[in-house]
Amino acid sequence: MLERAIVLAASAVGAGLAMIAGIGPGIGQGYAAGKAAEAVGRQPEAKGDITSTMLFGCAVAESTGIYGLVVALILLFANPLINLL
């Protein structure tokens, strides 16, 4: 019982730690959005192209954060460690 509790608690902490990965994409997407705003300010007629390029870049930059999220989801909802006991 104690082992189980320790594994569950450690998994919860690990899931929380995995979500720290969200910092990176946050900074990156903010940077991309800021640059896109600059670009729209410089060249307002290319707004559509700039927006779609920015969204595309943001989605690609997001993948590291998504990996962290997937690790957290696995630890919370499909924990593989609890079966090892």
Partner: protein, 241 residues
């Protein structure tokens, strides 16, 4: 949050049919019916709004494929349109209470594997098997493991991106609903009246605002992203022009 429920098992073959499969068939039926409804009774000079909408949709997809992949790959437009429609309607199905089919990793992995096969197939078609194998030794043979990993990482990152976004939206929406239910029962629980205590004070309207971001915007964006990535990667191995 739970995985998709197993609705029934096909006897003798022992294949589990999950919610995702049934929802996928529903979405396919919706897309098919929509296409039939939009394209029946076409005329040379469009008179109905229905035909105008159909022509607008088709030309939008054609333009997207032309701009991203070039005129050689215009035959990809039907696949891209089908992928876009299935992904978007599948993700938006969470709005009517179904489990979104893209919140199941199997669905997005299948799409990413299709893209992977198309990328490698296009590469072999253009460069021949020898050229395709030689491409892994580019620029120096020392890079072989890195090239292999980057090829395999492609479908994994593509499928995880789509799955992660929709699944995160689903988790956050369900957390929000339970938090709002707890909040309204906490506030109205002081009133000693069963009817008043059961009023869903905070669940009314407030989730809709967040739903616009987590369901509608994310669904549209992820459908667009997976189509764009498929197009960019497939035409990316083509060095002509």
């Amino acid at each position: 949050m739970e995985g998709p429920k197993i609705l029934f098992t096909i006897p003798y073959l022992n294949i589990n049919v999950t919610e995702t499969v049934v929802d996928t068939w529903l979405v396919m039926a919706v897309v098919t019916i929509l296409c039939i409804w939009l394209t029946h009774g076409l005329e040379i000079v469009p008179r109905t709004k229905r035909q105008l909408a159909a022509e607008k949709l088709v030309s939008m997809v054609n333009n997207m494929v032309l701009n991203t992949m070039g005129h050689r790959y215009i035959s990809f437009a039907p696949y891209i349109a089908a992928l876009f429609a299935t992904s978007m309607i599948g993700s938006l199905s969470s709005l009517i209470g179904l489990r979104p089919l893209t919140a199941d990793f199997s669905t997005t992995l299948a799409w990413a594997l299709l893209a992977f096969i198309m990328i490698q197939g296009n590469n072999i078609r253009l460069n021949g098997i020898g050229g395709w194998l030689k491409g892994f030794l580019d620029p120096v043979p020392f890079m072989l493991p890195l090239n292999l990993v980057s090829e395999i990482a492609n479908p994994i990152s593509m499928s995880f991106r789509h799955f992660g976004n929709i699944a995160a939206g689903m988790v956050i929406t369900s957390l929000l609903y339970s938090a709002l239910a707890a909040l309204s029962s906490f506030i109205l629980g002081w009133i000693p009246n069963e009817f008043v205590a059961s009023i869903p004070l905070f669940q009314l309207g407030l989730p809709a605002i967040l739903s616009i971001y987590f369901d509608v915007f994310t669904s549209f964006l992820q459908a667009y992203i997976i189509c764009m990535l498929t197009m960019v990667y497939v035409s990316g191995v083509d060095s002509r022009e």
